[in-house]
Amino acid sequence: MKRELRWLHASLLAAVSCAFAAYAEAQGDAKRGSYLAKAAGCVGCHTEAKEGAPAFAGGRALKTPFGTFYGPNITPDPQAGIGKWSEADFLRAMRRGERPDGSNYFPAFPYTSFTRMTDQDLRDLWAYLRSLPGNNRANQPHALSFPYSMRSLVSVWKRMFFTPGPLPNDPQLSPAAARGRYLVVALAHCGECHTPRNALGGAKKDRFLAGGKGPDDKNVPNLTPTRLKKWSDNELKEFLTTGMYSDGDIPAEAMAEVIRNTTSQLTPEDLDAIIAYLRALPALPEEPRDNKK
């Protein structure tokens, strides 16, 4: 009798969790999505750098050697934002770097990273974005220099430098490091700044997270053990939560903002996972630094 009850209990539980999973898949969980939005740092590029600017309503300028990009409005406003989008449009943008009309996004939008996100995470993130208040702040067109202003060229760029799809399994990594890898690669898109790029703006894959020049042409540090071995886990954790080195020194504002928006908002487990992953990276030598700028 007792055993039977236990079976009943187990199957009920299974049924409930299946139903829940199905519901979650259909709807997306906005609360989980809010955490994912922090982990992905969406607010940074999609909010104007101005005191009191409406969050996610666009306007941040990203100055690159190819020109200046302006992050668009991603609130649910039907005209100014992405209110008319379907979930499928969102998945397509994040996974394939395509706009609802089929044309390409410039890779200033880091779909090269977001393409690695799981379906569930994308759906949850979508649910969260839908829950934001709409804001009618109009988008600003990018100011790019020729020929980079030609959107059609992005399809060539994509063929060269973009591999869509989720992360392949890496059995070498511990479960924590694997979670860290997902956070670093897919969500927090650390490599978009910390991996050096070639002349066409494609990431140098064999130099992943080795630092050098960031997209704004400023030097960024090497995140592989070559440099980080000098830091204890605790120092790293303190840095990523307080935005301060152990001697009270303050990093450049670009990283300080990432710390405020993203790393300081992560659960302690996720932060540990990121550190475990960075520790497991192959140690790459420093990129030669050109200090003429």
Binding site: T242, M244, G248, E253, N291
Partner: protein, 152 residues
């Protein structure tokens, strides 16, 4: 008589001008060391305030007032250490310090203004506005480090 007086004064003045550099113009490597010392001490006195602003350590009004006062003086000290003579010295200063002097000066002024404000707000003892001002100072540190200092 008058002429003699003028020329004597001139000679004295010139003498002073010639002897002045020995006191006022330190060698480039010394200037670098001194400006770094001023920066290091700012870290020392700002660190605990930043930790308080983020709730990492308990708020301590007496430490805040003391450190903010120190910082108000320290925040004025590094800048004359970035003399053109130090351009070739090994340091974390980026070339922009010497090429984009206008913007560098703007950053210094904004930073000093925020630190001075912190010193005055800290006397009010209003914890919330003190913490807010600490964050504002931190943003100025990072804003200048962004363009003018090599990443650590």
């Amino acid at each position: 008589m008058n002429k003699m007086f003028v020329s004597m004064a001139l000679a004295l003045g010139l003498g002073a001008a010639y002897s002045l550099p020995a006191y006022s113009q330190a060698k480039p490597d010394v200037l670098v060391k001194q400006r770094q010392a001023a920066m290091t001490l700012q870290g020392k006195y700002f660190g605990p305030l930043n930790a308080m602003a983020q709730g990492k350590i308990p708020y301590d009004q007496s430490v805040v007032t003391r450190n903010a006062g120190y910082l108000d003086a320290l925040a004025r000290m590094p800048w004359d250490g970035f003399a053109a003579s130090t351009k070739g010295e090994k340091s974390a200063a980026l070339p922009a310090v010497f090429t984009d002097t206008g913007k560098f000066k703007e950053h210094q002024d904004r930073f000093q203004a925020e630190v001075t404000k912190l010193a005055s707000v800290s006397k009010s003892g209003d914890e919330a506005s003190v913490k807010q001002q600490i964050t504002a100072v931190g943003k100025q540190c990072g804003g200048c480090h962004e363009d003018f200092r090599e990443k650590r």
